[in-house]
């Protein structure tokens, strides 16, 4: 719990230090990964979502469409959207 301005300042410094620990190169690698998701899913899934035969189930394209949308957010906030990459890793592992 942050009780005093001193605690808040310390906590902010700690957070800043943690963020500094992720190198600029690594941040760009993350951004490149999100960009790959945007382009790959954009090419494969989005056309299906937009113009699909009316009878198909569509759950998987919808899920991957959501990932596509969030990958754009990941270009600006690669660290905040890390769960997206964790999700990609997890489902492919399973």
């Amino acid at each position: 719990m942050i009780a005093t301005p001193h605690d808040a300042a310390t906590s902010e410094t700690q957070q800043a230090n943690v963020v500094q620990e992720v190198s600029l190169a690594r941040i760009y690698v993350l951004r490149a990964t999100y960009l790959l998701l945007v382009i790959g899913l954009g090419g494969m899934i989005v056309p299906d979502v937009v113009s699909h035969p009316v009878v198909s189930r569509g759950v998987i394209p919808s899920l991957l469409g959501a990932v596509w949308v969030l990958a754009f957010v990941g270009l600006k906030y690669p660290l905040g959207m890390l769960p997206l990459l964790m999700f990609e890793f997890a489902w492919k592992s399973i």
């Binding site: 719990m1 942050i2 963020v19 600029l24 941040i27 979502v49 937009v50 699909h52 009316v54 009878v55 198909s56 189930r57 569509g58 759950v59 998987i60 919808s62 899920l63 991957l64 469409g65 959501a66 990932v67 949308v69 969030l70 957010v73 600006k76 906030y77 690669p78 660290l79 905040g80 959207m81 890390l82 769960p83 997206l84 964790m86 999700f87 990609e88 997890a90 489902w91 492919k92 399973i94």
Partner: protein, 133 residues
Amino acid sequence: MNDVSLFRLYLMRALYLLIAAGLGATIWPQIMGHPTPWPLWHGVGCSLLGAISILAVMGLRYPLEMLPVLFAELIWKAIWLIAVALPLWSAHNMDADNLETAQNCLLGIIVPFVIPWRYVFAHFVKAPGDRWK
């Protein structure tokens, strides 16, 4: 982190628990006892949802860090309802399977009530992005 109330954090934890329990009960038995060979789309679908259930468990401990999971839930259900359910329903072509999925997606209406939007705007819209240089 104190701009999100303790009550809201517990509300988010309850939602993650619901997601994890629901998917745990329906999806993991299918993953653990799947037929070989497993039809591609069924396997992919279960793997995707299995991954969401794992991240939802992490959301119990880190509800704010796992917010993207709730975003994904909200967005994919919205996409499915608009792109799949609505055309089917308008064409009076809704079958039992799709109706069940539609009902599950409509349950997703609780997600926007749980997401702490002010926190989301502060951290994912107004905040400067991570370093560019």
